[in-house]
Structures are given as C-alpha cells and as structure tokens.
C-alpha cells in the first residue's frame, strides 16, 4: 500500500524550529502522548539536547488520519542542521520523496538551508516550503515567503505559514504532506532492495540499521545479505520507530524502519549498503554513498599516559556510531602516545572530544587542529600531511598545496562589504555576488579550508550581528606559500604547538602563541625562553621569568595541619601538569594556547 506512505525530511537552519516542528507533528498525530514527551524528542543524545543541534539522522513513523478519512503513514527522516554534518543530510535525502523546507519568519533563508534545498531539488524531491515562527512579533512572513518562492521557483501563496510553538498551521501542514508529496514507488513483488541510511551500535543488540525499503519486502526471520560487504545474516527483528522501536512482521516498499541481525561488527554493516534477501537476491545494489572525508585533524592525547588503551577503546566505540571519525596512533615528544584524529569540522571535533571526556571519563589534551596538506618532495613524491610533524624537511620540500573550499555566504545586503572584507582577510579568491532579493545577497568565495575551520563562522556571525550564514564544499587543492612554525620551550620544540600556516600570517601566529604561553606557563625554578621559529629562524620570543618566592611567611603551632594539607593539595594540583623537557606545562595551557583570537 505505498499510496498511503509519505517519506519526507525537514530542511531547516539551526534554531529555525525543525526539532520543535517534529515534536509538534508527533504530538498532533498522537504518535506519542504529551506525558512521554521529552522536549525535542528526536534529539536523543544528551549533547544534542544541550547544544540544540541534531547530530545523527533518525527516522520516525507517524500514523495520520487525513481529512479524506484514510490513515497515512508519514515517515520523518530527521537530518542534522550543521555544516559539519551536511553529508548526513545528503544521505537522508536518498530515503525520502519530499522535503519540508522550514524557514524562520524573522530570519529568512540561511546559506545552509539554501545548500540543502539545492541538494533536495537536484535529488528530484518535492519541496513543501514553510514559514515558521509566525507568532513572533518580528515575523515578516510575506517578505520571507517571497524569498523562499524565488529560490524554489514557486508561488509565494503556496508557502505554508505555521508556528510550531503554538501549533498554528500544523493541521494544514499535515494535509499538505499527504496531498503535495508523492507516494513512494516500488514493487512488493520485486527482489528486496533496502538502503541502509544510518546505523548505530547498541551494546545489547549489536548493530541496529535504519533502512528504507525501495523494492520488495523484508520480514522477520528472512535470510538477508549485505550486498557490499557480502555479509549473510538473519533478520532477528524488523520494526518501525514511533519514535520508540516497535517490532513489525515485515517492511514493504516505501517503508522506513530498523533492522537488527545480531551482527556486532559495525564495519560489516556500512551506511549506504543495500540489504537484499538471500532467497531472491536483487541483481544490482542501490547507488550508495561516498564515505565522508575528514577535513580537520587534531592529535588527542590522554593526560595520564596510562589512559592510552582506554582512549583507544573509547575511540573504537565512538566510531561505531560515527563513521566520519577517523583515528590512527600518533606519538608526540611532548605529549606521549595518542591518536591523530580526523573530523568533519571543528564542531564535530568538539563534540567527539566532549563525548570522550564526558562519557568515557578521559582527561585529554588536544593539539592545534590542522587540515590535510599535500607536500611534494624534491624527488617528486606527494605525501599527505595531516600533522605538522609529517611535513618533509625544508630542504626536501618542493612545494605544498592546501585544500580550498567554495564558501557560500548569505547576508543582508548592507553587510556585503563586511563579508567580502572577512573573506579577503582569509585569503579568499573569486568573490561572486548574487542578489536573491534586494535585501539578501549570496556571496561566494574560494577560501583555503585552513582559514575557515577555526573561527571563520564565529567571525562571520559577529561581524554581521548574527545575520550572515554559510555553507561550504571542497573544490580541490592549490599551491600556497606555507611554512611550518615551531614553538620552542626552553630551546626544545614542542610538537603539539607546531602549525603549518601561510607565510604572511606566520609572524602574528608566532607572536600570539609566545605571548599566550607566557601567560599560561607558571613561573618555575629557572627562566623559560619561549620562541616561535620557522626552521632555525626565530620570529618571536618571550620569557617566563624564574619564580623568586615560594614560601609561607608564618608556620606556627596553630598552622601546622592546615599548612601541611594546603601544600599537599598544591602537590596534587601538579598532576595536572605535563613535563615538556624540564618545563612543567599545565594541561590547560595546551587547550587555551590554541584558542588564539586572530584579530
């Protein structure tokens, strides 16, 4: 009965109300009772709820009795809302026929929404445009509707006006989902082809796949084959998420749900793989996904050397649910044994780090984030450089290329100059302007990834008073004049602080780092010179002067226990230090030194 199924995603910018809308749909259709409802139910990870963002795509089935009297099965595939996770958006668009484009009535379209909308249009999806938050006093539904209509090429009158918060317009929206979105196609009699669009690891059940059946039927107990990995398993359980997992006898064409086979090895169950039935296998798999490619790299080191194995275990477990996370062992002279980890972006990096610390109780030190450079040696060999340590020595180096991205920014027209100035400061090339309306401009630049991964987004936001937004996509490698800047403590290079940077910015990086470290490193028994150097050329220098006084003035009969305990506590505090050569460096210094404001 595919005619009664509607599969859709919601495309929205952070804070434009996607999760609230999803909650409201669930509530209005009675899929969950108010009492069960945790706010923003779909975002199940604590971190997601705290940060108000969606990290993993999730699928929920919503039964809905339409005004025509028929009961429809609405499948909502939730998508992440941050630029770091756009590959997951593209993935979930393959599992749906339509998309709700949600735009904040007070804000207008944002760059990332635009990018995802273009993806959805290219994928041939039907778009239902929606203006949310019409209850707010600052709402400008007419203006925003015109903007949205000009982007998707429709009539402003077809743009629905709702308030997910108050529930206004939700009934009309449900009817629009039924009538404006197409039913899925697919034949129950064809061989089974089901797309795995997400998977996660449960310590009791093993790997749980979220799937979309395209053709055929998948029933409990079927012998199933994962076409890419060749794995043969039994379907121990199939079911739907309502959003609670509810087992069903079978999933038919057009339906989304989950599959549990008992397999524990997540590497055998790849997202993008096609599941078919062993008794009647499909001839051809569905087109899969490109593996997400890490864009930002950073070393993660346990503060306690003994925690290395625990860190390895924790990374393994995290990777089960996060295919985009990569890691390989790395050794640092300053920090000992750790891992070079690859992330989709800085937010992804922060989230992984926070989860490692919070869920696995690890205390970590991370090194300066880096992008992957391509170095060509004098012998013509090309090496990928994910860590400044891997850069061949200057006399072996013929050239370096760095990754560029095409950055698409949307801003109110009065900020065009500000945005262009920022892009040019960050070595941006080929400015291109495209007026979406007299008030809003799309500004495209090609910028080195290294220039945007750190604080570009924050800068863009603060310089445009929060009005600009951005999205980006890789456009390949270009040759650049890059140098490796080393930081030396007491004459010894500290690999954790080394960075590869454009030559025009090396001096300011060196000055900022030496200054910052002078403040972060406590005075010790001897003077500690802090230098920034390119090769053997010192470009900046500071000194932490030797401590001169470390004594309690009074220690008499009444003070003894208290003073002893105070000194013992201070001694304990020293455990939060790393020895770098003969210099004690507080763990915090590794984190704080890298938080350099660029301006």
């Amino acid at each position: 009965m595919t005619s009664r199924i509607r599969n859709f995603s919601i495309i929205a910018h952070i804070d434009h109300g996607k999760s609230t809308l999803a909650d409201r749909l669930l509530e209005r259709t009675g899929a969950i009772t108010g009492r069960d409802m945790k706010e923003q139910l779909l975002d199940s990870m604590d971190l997601e709820r705290e940060r108000g963002i969606t990290i993993k795509a999730q699928a929920v089935r919503i039964p809905y009795r339409a005004l025509d009297g028929a009961i429809y099965e609405l499948n909502l595939i939730d998508t992440p809302g941050h630029v770091d996770f756009s590959y997951e958006v593209a993935r979930s668009l393959d599992a749906v026929e339509g998309a709700l484009l949600v735009v904040d009535a007070t804000q207008g379209v944002e760059a990332q929404t635009l990018a995802n909308t273009y993806l959805a249009i290219e994928a041939g999806l039907e778009i239902v445009p929606i203006i949310n938050k019409i209850d707010l006093p600052a709402a400008e539904p007419e203006r925003v509707a015109a903007e949205v209509a000009s982007i998707i090429g429709g009539d402003p009158d077809e743009v629905l006006q709702i308030s997910a918060k108050t529930g206004a317009g939700i009934d009309e929206l449900l009817e629009a989902i039924v009538h404006r979105l197409p039913a899925p196609e697919g034949d129950a009699d064809d061989p089974l082809r089901a797309l795995i669009f997400d998977s996660y690891f449960d310590s009791y059940r093993g790997v749980i796949c979220t799937i979309r059946v395209k053709d055929g039927t998948l029933g409990k107990g079927d012998a199933v084959r994962f076409m890419a990995s060749g794995l043969l398993e039994h379907a121990d359980e199939v079911g739907v998420l309502t959003p609670l997992a509810v087992p069903v006898a079978a999933l038919g064409p057009g339906e989304s749900g989950y599959l549990i086979t008992g397999v524990k090895d997540i590497d055998l169950v790849r997202v993008g793989d096609t599941v078919t039935r062993e008794d009647r296998p499909a001839a051809e798999a569905l087109p899969g996904y490109l593996e997400p490619k890490p864009m930002v790299f950073s070393g993660l080191f346990p503060v306690e050397g003994d925690d290395f194995e625990r860190l390895r275990d924790a990374l393994e477990k995290l990777r089960l649910n996060d295919a985009a996370l990569s890691y390989e062992p790395e050794t640092s002279a300053a920090l000992g044994f750790g891992f070079r980890c690859g992330f989709l972006g800085l937010l992804h990096m922060e989230i992984v780090r926070e989860r490692l610390e919070r869920e696995y109780d690890l205390e970590l030190v991370s090194t300066a984030p880096s992008v992957a450079y391509l170095a060509t040696t004098v012998t013509g060999e090309v090496v990928e450089v994910r860590s400044p340590q891997d850069l061949p020595a200057a006399n072996q180096l013929a050239g370096i290329e760095e990754p560029y991205v095409k950055v698409m920014m949307l801003a109110p027209s009065e900020y065009v100059g500000t945005v262009m100035e920022l892009a040019q400061e960050r070595r941006g090339l080929v400015g291109e302007l495209n007026y979406l309306s007299p008030e809003r401009v799309e500004i495209d630049y090609e910028i080195p990834l290294a220039e945007i991964v750190f604080d570009f987004f924050d800068q863009l936001k603060s310089r445009t008073r929060g009005y600009a937004s951005l999205d980006y996509e890789p456009v390949g490698y270009r040759a650049s004049e890059l140098s490796k800047v080393d930081i030396l403590l007491n004459g010894q290079p500290v690999d954790a602080f080394s960075t590869i940077i454009h030559k025009d910015k090396a001096y300011s990086y060196g000055t900022a780092m030496t200054n910052r470290l002078r403040e972060l490193i406590p005075r010790q028994l001897f003077d500690i010179p802090i230098q920034a150097a390119i090769g053997s050329r010192v470009i900046a220098r500071e000194t932490v002067k030797a401590k001169r006084k470390d004594v309690t003035a009074k220690c008499y009969g009444g003070d003894i226990s208290r003073k002893r305990k105070l000194l013992e506590r201070q001694k304990e505090g020293k455990k939060r230090m790393k020895m770098v050569g003969s210099v004690e460096v507080p763990n915090d210094a590794f984190i704080n030194a890298l938080k350099i404001d660029r301006d």
């Binding site: 004594v551 009074k554 000194l567």
Partner: protein, 398 residues
Amino acid sequence: MLVERPLRPSGPPPPPGEDDGIDRLAAYVHIPFCARVCPYCDFAVVAGKDESTDRYFAALGAEIEMEPSAGSLASVFIGGGTPSRVSRDLLAGVVERLAGRFGLADDAEISLEANPEDWTPEVAAGLVAAGVNRVSFGVQSFDDAVLGELGRLHTAGDARVVVGMARAAGFASVSLDLIFGSPLESVESWRHTVESAIALEPDHVSTYALTVERGTELSRMVAAGAPAPDPDDQADKYQLARALLTEVGFGHYEVSNYARPGHECIYNLNTWAQGDYLAFGLGAHGHRAGVRRRNVRRLEAYLEMLEDGRRPEAGTESITGWDAELERVFLGLRMRSGVAAGAVGDVLASDPDGQALISAKKLEVTEGRICVLDPLFTDSVARVVLGLKPVETGRVAR
C-alpha cells in the same frame, strides 16, 4: 565536627628531636580580643566583645584544669588576638594557674604578644611581676601610611618608645614583628622600617610577608580588584631585611625569624622540632604524643562548652609512622640550620623533583641533614617532601 578523643594522661614521650634537641613541654594560651580586626588577619579573633573577657578567662581557667598533668612547662606563649588589651591581673592569673597545674621550669620562657598602643610602663611592670619575661610587639611598620593600610591603630611614634619601656621594666627578651610587601609600601619605606627596628636594639625580629589569607577582609578587597602583594617585590624586601639584620649580628634562624644569639624563641623552636605543646583558648591548637588537636573557633561555642564542663575540642588528627616523619621534616625545613634527614633524606635525594631542587641550588641533602639553601623556596621543598613515599623493599615507590 567534634571528635571526642581524650588525650592520654601520660602518653609515651615524643621521639627525641635528635640534635634539634628540644623535647620539653610548651603551652600556648590564646587571647582572642582585639580593638578591631586587621584586614589581613585570619586568626581566631573577636572585636567588640570585651564584655566577655571575664567569662572567657573563667573558661580558660576551667580548660587548664581539665588538661591531664604533663610535667613542667619549659615555655609558655600568650598570643592573640591582643593579649595586651586585657588586665594584668587576668594574665597573671593564667600564668599562675599554669604554674600551679603543671609547674614552670626554672628557666621557663614566658612570652606575650603586645600592641604598641596598649603599652605603658605600668603594664610592662605588671607583666614582669606576673612572670612574663619575653614580649613580642606587633610593630609591623615604621611608616604611618603603611600602618594605615594595614589597619593598625598605633603610629610609628608609639612603637619607638615601647622597647625602652620593656627594657626598663626588666623584660629579658624583646621582639618586634614587622610586615613587608603591602602594595603601597616602597622598598625605601621597608628599608626605613627595618633600620628603625634595628635602631631600637631588640633581641629578636620577625619579618612576615603580607599574605592574602582566605576569608579575610584583605582577600575580599583583592577579589574586588584591589592590588595584591607582588611576590617579586616581597622577594626583594625579604632579601633586603635579611641583609640588614644579619649585617648587624642577628642570626637568621627560621624563614621569618631573626635573633641575637641566645634569644631564639624557645616556644617556637619547640614547634618546629615537632615538640609537644598544650593549647588553651579559642581556636588554639595543641600537639601531644602524636596527636594534633584544635579547639573550636567560635567564641560562644567555646564558652558554652567549657561552662558545660566539656573540652572545647573541634577535632583531632593522629600523625604516626611515615606521616609523622614527613611532618617532622616539613617543620624542620623552616630552620636555617636544616633538619635531621632520618629516613627521608635518601628518598628526597632520589626523587626527580627533589633532584631538580638540588640542582637548582635551592636544597641540600647531605648524609645527616636536609637543608633549604634558599629560604624563599621552602614551600617548593616542603611540597616535594610531603609527597614522598617510604622506601619499600629497597625500591623507591612513587
């Protein structure tokens, strides 16, 4: 929390302090009353409660009577607060009671803390008559601007006359307490203070770096943005005082203390040698037979407990074995002559942090002694010492 743990009436004697040699019993008596509380002070003090003085001394007397007898006292220290604020009769009564309960050694040192503004020839004479033979004046500075900043009620002029009065009354030993390194004080002001003190020819001088202690008015002011003492300035002033005082013949015998030969404070030497001392009064701390105990710090609680016939104890801590050994070294490190190494010396010398201090010439560990070479780094050494683990089966456990 109150921990009831009666002291044994006659516990084993403390381990003899080897060549540190002070194993005679001392007693501390705390007088908490002050005209006002100085902003840097974190002792158990009360201001504006003078009407409780009689009740307090009655309680103090009761507390002394409760202490199990212990042999005669080699030294007594009456500190505060401001002991010089209360009447000579009350102070004389305390000394008398201690003498009656425990006995005083023939050469017993009886010290008392006094503020210059309280000092008169009559007060001085009365205290000598009561048996007090050592006085320590809270002079702090000879710069009136600095005295104001420190919240003191006397002037430099007041301080100049007190030594002479004490001498005239017959005190055997006169000490001056000085404070350096308050934010407004210049190096020249401090030099003037030290030189003025020297000119009065005291027998003993204590020089204390102004310290921001938790919970004091000073710490609140600093938290609110007032300038904090600068450690480098304090290091300069420490060294200046040391140079000036040692040049005129004072021996630098402890981190903050200087004495003419034979005038070292016997009571304090006993403390740093981990000796036993009885303690009486509000917030007072005692040490007997390996147990450190402390009294309650709230005046009303102290009074009520004693009026109920209970000891005003707030808690005790038993220090034994290796911990006692570390404590002995931690205390002895403050002595410029160092401390007997005992079992700690080898462990310290083989500890990486200990070695770093030795190679930085802050510390010396020889066969028999542990010596801090630079007293400004005493805490650096103490921190390492207190973290040491005993040697087990020939290996150094860390």
